[in-house]
């Protein structure tokens, strides 16, 4: 893939011409009007003159290249990967690259895969920006070569580049990028540069691990998350939020709260009560001392998981209740009516919580007149954060200045359109006329959580005499997610709730007649996308269901899947390879040692991923132990292969918690759990040995941030059935559920 030699443009590029505008040497801002944070020179300590090449790139005369990163950094590594794609096409030395966060501007920096909005979600950063970043990088390189050609008095196609230099091989002359910056004339609009196809291109940085740029700071406690922000005169806020969405405070007794030293104010909000103090501890204590009576009108009051399962299952089993179609191929309903043999099963999942390590928080500073606001926050959408604050304060979006900070984990929790945890600080800052840092405690973060919904999945398959699936119907009943998380997108989606439904589709399996449909009651419970969104449960249902069919027909679950993937060579490859790595053929021997293997596969928005879990069970306690976990992933071009491994490790560990121990329960509309002592996430002793293989292919990259998460639960359930003959059909597979299942 790599080439240490010189880089040429593709044939045909030489004829391209630019409309010449004016150079902008010395200016920190280009024609787009954005101030670029230009770094100081390492050698001189001064800020060298720089030229804005395009909205993405600034080139300093010392050769330093500053690149905008449009995605938020929440641990997934986009802050490195996205600028690196551009740097590769620009042909620049990685050591010369500085990276800055792009300011909120959808027109320039929006993700084309997410409706042109600056929104980091769905493992869509690299896949959404890949071609765009290549193009902008290629354009900058072209502009540099074009300038060098005129400067040297040679034709453009006599020139090549090496990282950071333009070369004229014939005469032995060359110019560094920084030298070109001294005289570069920048076109107002660069032409579209033909990009080399992925099976031909020789990347220099893509595919080679350069190390994440945020890592050195993160080992010395240095990166600044919004919770670390301090402003002159800043005070601290805490919010007692309505226990059920839409329940406003009715009566507030704040006498005890106000008696605490350091408490400055108590502020009534539509959705709760805010306290402001001169120290965090005083704010937390005052919040706890509040006595509040809440309105009982909201939808969620009275709801519980049990009630949810009962009513959702009734809907799922009632054929007269048809939902909104998500995936429809052929005619599954009529095919199932005609099928001689119909297989039917039901799967469930409880609510699940994000549990990002940094509890939600933000800092806001509203101007004395109340007409402007500066915010510091960790958000998955720069666009939403600014809009929500502007809306809450009744001021124009242009008057909200965003500082988007490093994020201590998000997993979907920080991408809701109302960004309520940022609005909190804006409202309290306006109330007290000072900069305010609002911090949620862990208990607030759990109790005010927005969860992966409660699910009942009902699946039916029509089978032929050989056990082949001829038709499949997947009916989902779960809480609405999109209308709560993002009413704007929900309106456009016309009832198709992609957060709830994604993963019910099975594009790779060769089944002619397929239907998935969703019904999404409004229970009043707060929901949100959560790592792997609906795929986390819908893939669990699909992959357990397929395994159950294979088991009933006494077919090998790996061979069964490989046969169904006949038209998908990439899919077949990841399944075969993971089976080889895990010694699937020798699994009978494992069984003698009280262990078993289970397999699962997914096509997750184009990434092909397969996994095998090796488990045992302690029959007395009901605890399932995962000993080893193999995973193969083909996500096309692996921009940073070690980071793809890291993200796959991460998504497996996340899936492990969701599969086995993580459960949110609702009683009378309120969240029962409070902290890590009753919401059990994986710890070090829960770790299986992880054996991961990235299989890069010259296809457009399709994402890696959450692709293995949905495979963990079905791989475990499938192994458990293999081991015990008993099928676990509900996430999480809690120890007490396992004990009950083994007894029955």
């Amino acid at each position: 893939m790599h080439d240490s030699g010189r880089r040429r443009f593709m044939t045909g590029t030489a004829g391209l011409t630019f409309g010449i505008a004016s150079g902008t040497l010395g200016g920190m801002s280009g024609s787009n009007g954005i101030a670029h944070a230009q770094p100081r020179s390492r050698e001189t300590g001064r800020v060298p003159p720089a030229v804005t090449m395009n909205p993405w790139v600034t080139l300093a005369t010392d050769g330093t290249v500053t690149i905008m990163s449009p995605a938020c950094e929440m641990g997934q590594g986009s802050l490195t990967s996205l600028p690196l794609i551009l740097a590769d096409e620009m042909d620049v030395e990685w050591a010369k690259v500085r990276i800055v966060h792009a300011p909120p501007n959808d027109a320039l920096y929006g993700n084309p895969r997410l409706g042109g909005v600056m929104y980091t979600a769905g493992s869509l950063a690299v896949t959404g920006y890949f071609t765009m970043m290549r193009q902008f990088g290629a354009q900058v390189r072209w502009v540099l070569v074009d300038n060098a050609a005129r400067h040297l008095g040679v034709p453009v196609d006599a020139l090549t580049t090496q990282p950071g230099r333009v070369l004229h091989v014939a005469s032995g002359r060359s110019l560094g990028y920084g030298e070109i910056a001294e005289f570069a004339v920048i076109p107002a609009r660069a032409p579209e540069i033909p990009l080399e196809p992925l099976d031909k291109v020789r990347f220099r940085l893509i595919g080679r691990d350069v190390g994440r740029i945020d890592v050195p700071d993160k080992v010395r406690g240095a990166p600044v998350y919004s919770i670390d922000v301090q402003r002159p005169g800043m005070v601290y806020g805490a919010i007692l939020r309505e226990p059920v969405e839409g329940a406003a405070p009715l009566k507030i007794d704040d006498r005890a709260a106000r008696a605490i030293e350091g408490v400055l104010d108590v502020v009534r909000l539509k959705y709760g009560v805010g306290v402001v103090a001169d120290a965090p501890w005083a704010a937390f204590k005052a919040k706890q001392a509040l006595q509040v009576e809440w309105e009982r009108k909201a939808t969620g009051w009275g709801f519980s998981n049990d009630k949810g399962f009962e009513s959702f299952a009734a809907i799922a089993r009632d054929p007269s209740r048809q939902g909104v179609a998500w995936e429809q191929e052929g005619n599954a309903r009529s095919a199932l009516q005609k099928a001689t043999n119909v297989f039917e099963r039901e799967y469930r999942a409880d609510y699940a919580y994000h549990a990002q390590m940094e509890p939600l928080n933000s800092v806001a500073d509203v101007s004395p007149k109340g007409d402007a606001c500066e915010i510091w926050c960790g958000t998955q959408s720069q666009t939403f954060a600014v809009a929500a604050v502007a809306d809450a304060l009744g001021i124009p979006v242009a008057n909200v200045k965003l500082n988007d900070m490093m994020i201590g984990g998000a997993f979907g929790r920080r991408g809701n359109r109302d960004t309520e945890f940022i609005v909190d600080a804006a409202l309290l800052s306006r109330a007290v006329g000072k900069p305010v840092k609002v911090m949620w405690t862990r208990e607030d973060d759990v109790k005010n959580g927005r969860f992966r919904p409660l699910y009942v999945n009902r699946l039916r398959a029509g089978l032929d005499a050989n056990g082949r699936i001829t038709a499949m119907h997947h009916k989902v009943v779960c809480d609405r997610v999109l209308p709560f998380a993002d009413p704007v997108r929900a309106k456009a989606a016309k009832g198709r709730d992609n957060i709830a439904m994604r993963g019910t589709e099975i594009p790779s399996y060769d089944i002619a007649d397929r239907l998935s449909e969703g019904i999404h009651p409004d229970t009043g419970i707060r929901t949100a996308p959560l790592r792997a969104i609906g795929v986390g449960q819908n893939c669990f249902a699909n992959e357990c269901f397929i395994d159950e069919i294979a088991a009933e027909r006494k077919l090998d679950p790996v061979a069964y899947r490989v046969a169904m993937l006949a038209k998908q060579p990439r899919a077949q490859h990841v399944v075969r390879e993971v089976a080889r790595m895990a010694r699937w053929e020798q699994r009978a021997r494992l069984q003698e040692q009280g262990r078993a293997l289970g397999v699962a596969y997914i096509d997750y928005t184009g990434s092909h991923v397969a996994a095998i879990a090796e488990i045992s069970v302690d029959r007395a306690s009901g605890e399932v132990k995962v000993h080893r976990f193999w995973c193969t992933i083909d996500c096309g071009v692996a921009v940073q292969p070690d980071n793809v491994v890291a993200q796959t490790e991460s998504s497996i560990v996340y899936g492990l918690g969701l599969a086995l121990t993580e459960q949110i329960t609702i009683a009378d509309g309120r969240v029962v759990q409070a902290n890590f002592y009753d919401y059990r996430v994986p710890r070090m002793s829960d770790m299986p040995e992880l054996i991961i293989k990235v299989i890069p292919t010259p296809n457009h990259p399709t994402g890696a941030g959450q692709m293995a998460t949905p495979l963990v639960a079905p791989a475990i359930s499938n192994a458990f059935a293999q081991l015990t003959g008993v099928r676990l059909r509900q996430q999480p597979m809690l120890a007490e559920r396992v004990r009950t299942a083994l007894r029955s």
Binding site: M74, G75, Q76, G211, R212, D214, V215, P216, K218, V219, R220, G221, A222, P223, V224, Y225, I227, D228, Q230, A259, I260, E261, G262, A279, P280, W281, A282, K285, A355, Q356, M357, E358, P359, M406, I407, G408, G409, T441, R442, E443, D642, N643, A646, Q647, E649, S650, S651, I652, V653, Y654, N675, F676, Y677, V681, P682, R683, M684, S685, M687, L690
Partner: protein, 155 residues
Amino acid sequence: MSEKIAVMLTVNGESRTVRALPDTPLLWVLREDLKLTGTRFGCGVGQCGACTVHIDGQPNYACLNPISAMQGRVVTTIEGLSPDASHPLQRAWIAEQVPQCGYCQSGQIMRAAGLLKEKSRPSRDEIVTYMQPNICRCGTYARIVRAIERALKEG
């Protein structure tokens, strides 16, 4: 408990005097008064280890120790672990590319530093047991173990 007191303690080798409500956890004094924000708030109840610092040389939860009990105590935070981030664990953490979101990593490193003080050759099981109090939601556990093993080897 609702009036502030003055407490003198040593933080990263410097003597500091702070004023706070007596039950204020050390965590908030470090972060907001002394501006040492590398020590993180994760749970407030000693369940996640994000706030791990050394108190009198031992790993401890900054969120569980009230400032009233800190008079004369010696505290080391991630900022004081090494003058230039060159502690063997910090170098190993970079070599193994451990951090993802990074939020818990100060606590992970401070806890691992406690292990290295106690044992020169811990087994893998001993590493796992020792690190058990610290949660990493990004699931970097496998790399944490590798980094600790590397630091033990490379010193």
